[in-house]
C-alpha cells in the first residue's frame, strides 16, 4: 500500500526550466511547493571533469537511462513501433535541472507569425496553402501577449545578444551585450551582407559578461571552453535551472525538492487532481503526495505519457482526429545544412560556446514570399561555433571514403578547415503524427512506454532542400573551396542526432475542442492541473524552444497564483 504524505499547496513533476521557474515564482508568492525529480541532485561542482567528450557526448552521462525507460517509434500507423534502444535522434535529459542543464543556450524568441500561423497563412495565401492532413493552429496567444514573459526569462538568464532586424518588437534591450565574434563569424556577417541578408548575433544564455539577474543571482562570464551541449557548465556561466531559479526557490524555505522520485500517476477525482503517486526509486516504495495544485513540467514525452497513464484529458484518436492528449506531435527539420572546406585557412574550431554564432531570419517564418513554394514557414539559418570536439566532428568532402588512409588524412587535414552553416527548419503538425501509449513495451515499473508515430512529409522535404541551398550559397560566398550540402532529406530516422526539440501532445489553444490547455497552460479538463513545456506548442517554430518554454512557465506561474486566489478556468 502506498504511503500518503501530508498535503502541500503545489506539487511539481520534474524540476527543469519550467518546474524551476514555477517553483521560484510560487514560493516567492508564499505557496508551499514540493518538487519531485526522478533523477539525481546536480551542482556546478559535478563538472570539474566535464571536458570529457566520450563520457558526456558519446555515453550520455547527462541523459535519462534508457535501460529503465525509453520511447517506441514507428514511421506510420501501419508499421510496428519498436523501442528506441539506444540514443540517436534526440537526447532526453535527466536529473535536477533536466534538459536545461545540457542545452546549448540558444535563446531565440519565436516570430509573431509563429503564434498565428494558421490565420496568417490563410489570410495571405488562401486556405489551400495548408495541405490536407496538416493540423497547424494558432496558439490562442499572440506575440505581443507573450512578449513580457520572454522579457522575464531573458532577464532571468541574462541573454547576450543584439536586436534581430526581422524579429518581433522588444520591450527592453538584451540584458548583456552579444558574445565575442570569431573570424569565421565575421566572414559569415560579411557574406550575408553581400547577399543582402540580415545577420544578427545569436541570442545566448552562455553570458558575454558577468551578470546579476533581478533575483540577485550572480553568474560569471563564459570562457568559450567548447563544452556546452550534452555537458554541464563548470563555471555556471551557461544559464541553467540549478544556478538560477532553484536557489531562489530554496531560499524562501518553502520549496522541498525530492530527487529520485519518479511520478507515475496524477490522482484525480471529479475533474480535479488530488495529488500524485510516485515511486522512490531508491527504495521502490510507492508514495502519495496530495496537493491542491499539480504542475506537470517534465519533458514533452513524459508530460504526455503521465496524462495518458493517469487517464486525465481526452486521448487523441488519429482515425477521427478527435481528442487532444497526444495530438500534434511535431519535431524539427534540422538536416538542411551546408559545410564548407577551406584549403588555405584554419579556424579555432575547437573553441566556442553552445550559443556562439550569427543567425539570419530571412528564410524563417513568413519573412519571405511562399506564393511559389511548396511549403510554408522556414527556419533560422546560423553559423555556430560550439567547439568541434574531435570524436564527433570529422567532416570530409563528399566522395571521400569513410575509413582508411584517405579518410584519416582528410579528416585530420580538415579538422580546423571547415565551417558549417545550418538551419533549424520548423516542423508542422499533421493528423497522423501523434503520441500514444505502446501496448507491447513497458518501463522498469511495468508502465507502458510512450509511442511516437512520425515521419517527414513533402513539406519537410521541400523545406530542407530550400534551406540547405540557402546555407550553401552563404558558405560559397564566404569563400569555401568546396561546399557540400543536403540534397535530399530522406525518411525520419531515430538513430541520427537531429535536435532535442520535440514538441506537442498537450497543446495550447483557444478552446477545449482543439487543445488540452489554455494559454496559462491550465488544463481545460482539470483546472487545478497545469502542464507546462514544449508539449504545449501546437507545431514547432524554426528555432530552439527554450525561450518560449521559459516564457510559458512565467505565464503559468502567474496563472497559478491567480487560480489560487480565485479558482476556476483562467480563460
Amino acid at each position: 500500500m502506498a504511503k500518503t504524505l501530508p498535503k502541500t499547496d503545489v506539487v511539481i513533476v520534474g524540476v527543469g526550466w519550467a518546474g524551476g521557474i514555477i517553483a521560484a515564482e510560487l514560493t516567492k508568492s508564499g505557496l508551499n511547493v514540493v518538487g519531485l525529480e526522478r533523477g539525481k541532485e546536480r551542482k556546478t561542482e559535478d563538472y570539474f571533469m566535464v571536458h570529457d567528450e566520450l563520457r558526456y557526448g558519446l555515453r550520455y552521462e547527462m541523459m535519462q537511462d534508457l535501460s529503465k525507460e525509453t520511447i517506441t517509434f514507428r514511421s506510420t500507423e501501419k508499421t510496428r513501433a519498436l523501442p528506441m534502444r539506444q540514443y540517436g535522434s534526440f537526447l532526453i535529459g535527466d536529473g535536477l535541472g533536466g534538459a536545461g542543464v545540457h542545452w546549448n543556450g540558444q535563446t531565440y524568441r519565436f516570430l509573431p507569425y509563429d503564434f498565428e500561423i494558421r490565420s496568417k497563412t490563410i489570410e495571405k495565401y488562401g486556405k489551400n496553402k495548408i495541405p490536407a492532413g496538416m493540423t497547424i493552429q494558432d496558439w490562442g496567444i499572440t506575440y505581443d501577449e507573450i512578449e513580457p514573459y520572454y522579457d522575464k526569462f531573458e532577464k532571468l538568464t541574462g541573454i547576450s545578444g543584439e536586436v534581430n532586424p526581422l524579429g518581433g518588437k522588444r520591450s527592453s534591450p538584451f540584458p548583456t551585450p552579444p558574445m565575442k565574434k570569431t573570424p569565421a563569424m565575421q566572414m559569415f556577417v560579411e557574406a550575408a551582407g553581400r547577399l543582402k541578408l540580415n545577420p544578427y548575433m545569436m541570442p545566448s544564455a552562455n553570458l558575454s559578461e558577468n551578470y546579476t539577474n533581478p533575483d540577485g543571482i550572480a553568474r560569471a562570464a563564459c570562457q568559450y571552453c567548447g563544452y556546452c551541449e550534452r555537458f554541464g557548465c563548470e563555471y555556471g556561466a551557461k544559464a541553467d535551472p540549478v544556478v538560477t531559479v532553484i536557489p531562489v526557490a530554496n531560499k524562501t524555505g518553502k520549496f522541498e525538492i525530492r530527487t529520485h522520485s519518479n511520478v507515475r500517476r496524477i490522482l484525480h477525482k471529479g475533474g480535479k487532481a488530488t495529488g500524485v503517486m510516485y515511486t522512490d526509486v531508491t527504495t521502490g516504495e510507492e508514495i502519495i503526495q496530495p496537493a491542491d495544485i499539480v504542475v506537470v513540467t517534465s519533458y514533452v514525452f513524459n508530460n504526455v505519457r503521465l496524462l495518458l497513464m493517469s487517464e486525465l484529458g481526452k486521448p487523441y484518436d488519429s482515425s477521427t482526429g478527435t481528442g487532444v492528449i497526444g495530438r500534434n506531435y511535431a519535431y524539427q527539420v534540422a538536416k538542411g545544412s551546408a559545410i564548407g572546406f577551406f584549403e588555405n585557412q584554419q579556424f579555432n574550431n575547437f573553441a566556442g560556446a553552445g550559443a556562439l554564432g550569427v543567425s539570419i531570419d530571412d528564410y524563417n517564418g513568413d519573412n519571405f514570399d511562399h506564393s511559389d513554394l511548396n511549403f510554408i514557414h522556414g527556419g533560422v539559418i546560423a553559423i555556430g561555433q560550439p567547439g568541434s570536439r574531435p570524436i564527433q566532428n570529422n567532416p570530409v568532402p563528399s566522395g571521400t571514403a569513410s575509413w582508411g588512409s584517405e579518410f584519416k588524412s582528410k579528416s585530420v587535414h580538415y579538422s580546423n578547415r571547415t565551417i558549417g552553416v545550418g538551419a533549424q527548419g520548423s516542423s508542422m503538425s499533421f493528423k497522423h503524427h501523434f503520441l500514444d501509449l505502446d501496448s507491447a513495451y513497458k518501463d522498469v515499473y511495468g508502465d507502458p512506454l510512450l509511442r511516437i508515430t512520425f515521419d517527414f512529409e513533402d513539406q519537410d522535404r521541400e523545406l530542407a532542400k530550400f534551406l540547405a541551398e540557402r546555407c550553401s550559397k552563404i558558405v560559397t560566398e564566404m569563400g569555401a573551396d568546396k561546399v557540400d550540402y543536403l540534397k535530399e532529406l530522406g525518411p525520419y530516422d531515430i538513430m541520427t542526432y537531429q535536435s532535442t526539440h520535440n514538441t506537442g501532445g498537450v497543446i495550447m489553444g483557444s478552446n477545449p475542442g482543439n487543445s488540452a490547455v489554455n494559454t496559462y497552460s491550465q488544463m481545460w479538463d482539470a483546472d487545478n492541473v497545469f502542464v507546462v513545456g514544449a508539449s504545449s506548442f501546437p507545431q514547432n517554430a524554426g528555432y530552439n524552444p527554450t525561450n518560449t518554454v521559459g516564457a510559458l512557465a512565467y505565464r503559468a506561474a502567474e496563472g497559478i497564483v491567480k487560480y489560487r486566489e480565485k479558482g476556476g478556468l483562467l480563460v
Binding site: L66, G352, L356, V412, N416, M495
Partner: protein, 259 residues
C-alpha cells in the same frame, strides 16, 4: 607533427612476437618457468624463457615506467590482435601522425567492452525483439561484447575461407577487402549484422583515437596533437576572436591537478 613518442610506447608492438611475449612477462604471467596451460601457456611456450629482463627502450636506455593500463579486461589475446589490425586499417598511421595501433585504440576498445558500454548497461534491452525497419535503429538482443565476439570470429572465419590465412597475417589490402565485405553486408551472418558490427568497430576506433587518454586510447594525446585539438582547456577567452592558434593540449589529468 609530434612523433616524439615513436618507439617508446610499450604497447606499440605488443602483438608481434617478441614484444608480445615481453608484454606477458612484464604482466607477471611467466611464473619462473612454470608451464602455464591454456591459451596463455601456448603463447608463452612459443619462445624460450631467456629474456626475463626489464623492457628496454629501442635505444637501450633505462626502462620506462610500466603502463599498468596496458592489459586486457575482456578480449583474448587473439581477439585483441584482430582488433588492433582491423582498427589500424580503419585509422592507419601516415605522414600526418599515428594510427589506431600506436594510439592504443585496441586497448581502449577492450576496456570499453568490459564495462557498461559493452554490457549495453544504459540501453533498453527488454523484450520482445523484432526485426525493425532500418529507421528504427538497433533491435538485436545481443550486447556489444557479444557482437564483438561474434564479429571478430567471423572476420577470422572469412579470412581463412577466402585467403587461407588468419586476418592478422593478411596484407593490408586483403584486410581492407575483408573489412569492406563486412561493411557492405556482402558477408551474411545469421546472428548479427556484418555492417552493424563494422559500424561499431569504426565508431569505437574514432572514440579510441580521440577520447581523453584516461580511457586507454589517444596515447600521450597524440591523436589530439595530430589534429591540433587542445583537449581540455579551462578557457579560450584570449584566442576566441583570433585567427587559428596552435595550443599544446591538456588532458583531464591536468585538469585534476589544476583543481
Amino acid at each position: 607533427m609530434n612523433r616524439s613518442n615513436k618507439g617508446k610506447e610499450p604497447s606499440k608492438d605488443a602483438v608481434d612476437g617478441n614484444s608480445r611475449r615481453k608484454f606477458l612477462i612484464n604482466s607477471g604471467y611467466a611464473l619462473g618457468g612454470i608451464v602455464v596451460g591454456g591459451a596463455l601457456g601456448s603463447l608463452i611456450k612459443r619462445k624460450p624463457a631467456a629474456e626475463n629482463a626489464p623492457v628496454k627502450t629501442d635505444e637501450g636506455k633505462a626502462a620506462e615506467p610500466k603502463n599498468y593500463n596496458r592489459a586486457l579486461m575482456f578480449l583474448t589475446q587473439d581477439q585483441f590482435r584482430i582488433v588492433e589490425s582491423a582498427t589500424e586499417r580503419i585509422f592507419p598511421e601516415d605522414d600526418a601522425g599515428p594510427g589506431a595501433k600506436s594510439l592504443g585504440v585496441a586497448f581502449f576498445i577492450d576496456h570499453q567492452l568490459a564495462g557498461e558500454w559493452g554490457f549495453n548497461g544504459r540501453d533498453y534491452m527488454m523484450p520482445p525483439f523484432y526485426m525493425g525497419e532500418s529507421v528504427q535503429g538497433y533491435q538485436g538482443r545481443l550486447k556489444r561484447k557479444e557482437m564483438f565476439e561474434i564479429g571478430l570470429r567471423e572476420l577470422e572465419n572469412y579470412s581463412v575461407t577466402k585467403f587461407d590465412k588468419s586476418f592478422v597475417e593478411l596484407t593490408g589490402e586483403q584486410q581492407d577487402e575483408v573489412l569492406k565485405a563486412f561493411e557492405s553486408d556482402e558477408v551474411k551472418l545469421t546472428t548479427i549484422s556484418a555492417s552493424g558490427f563494422f559500424k561499431i568497430l569504426r565508431s569505437s576506433t574514432l572514440e579510441g583515437a580521440y577520447s581523453d587518454p584516461l580511457y586507454g586510447g589517444n596515447m600521450d594525446m597524440n591523436g589530439w596533437k595530430m589534429r591540433n585539438y587542445p583537449g581540455s582547456q579551462m578557457s579560450y577567452l584570449t584566442i576566441i576572436e583570433k585567427d587559428f592558434t596552435k595550443i599544446e593540449p591538456n588532458s583531464l589529468q591536468d585538469h585534476l591537478v589544476a583543481h
